[in-house]
Symmetry: C2
Subunit: 261 residues, 2 copies
């Protein structure tokens, strides 16, 4: 399971100040700390970026790539910003992401074909809603898969996100059990070893992060790993969680384990 | 998943000194700390106990029951000690345990019928060995189940232990993936919702317990929970592990979750 740091969000003070002052140094220092903490990919969640989106995204991508050789994920709903990020990046990036919402199908998905990029597809319906049952989500997965092929994106580039629910939601637990089932069922339903990704930080969204939240992240992260998840977005400075996710990898790996490594 | 404290082992200094001095007070204090730490059952692992086994077991069971109302598990290969423990206990106890080894079938399993007690059945062959594949272990489970019925123990009293392997073993990881698969497959193979138990402490056996071991316990404990395990034996003072196991319960529960409780 590839641990993806989701720390670089437009709301993060370091990201905000980097954009405001056009000074990449504190941002680069943060990125280096993220890599040291265990990140294997970095999600750059910029939001739409508004005015000057292309310049801002270019600046951010260049700053991050100056600090790390880790692969990047471009996380924005603005196709202009997304395209600018892809062009600015030295390395191949992953696009995050599209769904069956018409504007995503029209403006985001084609970028994956155009730039031969991996792309994350969310199991949301055309109205952006999360259906309650596993069967309904698996039906959406078939539609997401078909949309990819139709847009000229090979199935190997698709990474399905079954959408982790905040436990704050009334049916959050039940939804997250559905997420586990969907991850387990996807290869059978789509007929190939489709890659999957999940945002673990969603689980504790809307609450103050403390020991209880950390225990929930560890527990659900390991359940996601056991279900066969390929990539997981997480606050990389949640060290307990990251250590447990690394332990999951060791437990599920075909490589011989030793306590010493 | 019921969290069972496995701390009361004959090697524990407090247990040793309680038996030596016939002073139950430090033992009772330990048991109360175990309950506070999250124990929902207590395994009393006395070993064979040797000379005076009946008196020793009686003393231990009475001491523990004076300190807590939690249900007990009698963990000894000595049928005389086991019977003494069952008789000494005010509450119904669980026997831990039998396997297809002839002396266990002959001397331990009948106690479950005699005292109408729940009993743990290990997936070990007649020579006490752990077979490498899931199919072989599931075959053993069928034999363990049949042995129960033949001995007059109803299937509802059987709790299957698929035997967690130490990660120190060369094939420990692979064996423990087999354990997950066995737990998932057992209800289908036996045709009813058979209860299962696993000893999480085995995972890190033979190593110094530190952060790495804690992360492994959290990771594998959550995987066991997601696989449908009913009872888990753990060092109850491994607080990170216990908090993660409790988080698993909340995630898998049908009760509505709130962060406040």
């Amino acid at each position: 399971m590839i641990v993806v740091a989701d720390n670089l969000q437009i709301t993060h003070p370091v990201v905000q100040s980097a954009l405001r002052n056009l000074n990449p140094d504190p941002l680069k220092a943060l990125v280096r700390r993220m890599e040291t903490a265990g990140a294997r990919m970095i999600d750059i969640n910029t939001g739409p970026l508004g005015k000057g989106a292309e310049e801002k995204m270019t600046f951010l991508v260049q700053a991050v790539e100056e600090a790390t050789r880790l692969p990047l994920i471009m996380d924005t709903a603005n196709p202009v910003a997304m395209a600018a990020g892809v062009k600015a990046a030295q390395k191949r990036v992953t696009l995050n992401g599209f769904s069956l919402e018409p504007r995503k199908l029209k403006h985001i998905l084609p970028l994956a074909a155009q730039y031969e990029a991996d792309i994350i597809g969310y199991l949301l319906d055309a109205q952006g809603r999360i259906p309650p049952t596993a069967d309904e989500r698996l039906t959406l997965a078939v539609e997401v898969h078909q949309a990819c092929l139709k847009a000229g994106v090979p199935q190997e580039r698709l990474i399905v996100d079954p959408v982790v629910a905040p436990l704050l939601w009334e049916d959050g637990q039940a939804q997250n059990r559905v997420v586990l089932k969907v991850i387990q069922s996807l290869p059978g339903v789509l007929g190939y070893e489709v890659r999957t990704v999940a945002g673990l930080s969603n689980l504790t969204a809307g609450t103050q992060f403390s020991d209880k939240q950390a225990a929930m992240e560890c527990a659900y992260g390991a359940m996601l790993a056991a279900s066969g998840l390929h990539m997981i977005l997480v606050n990389i400075f949640h060290q307990k969680t990251v250590r447990v996710l690394e332990a999951c990898d060791a437990l599920l790996s075909e490589k011989v384990f030793t306590w010493e490594t």
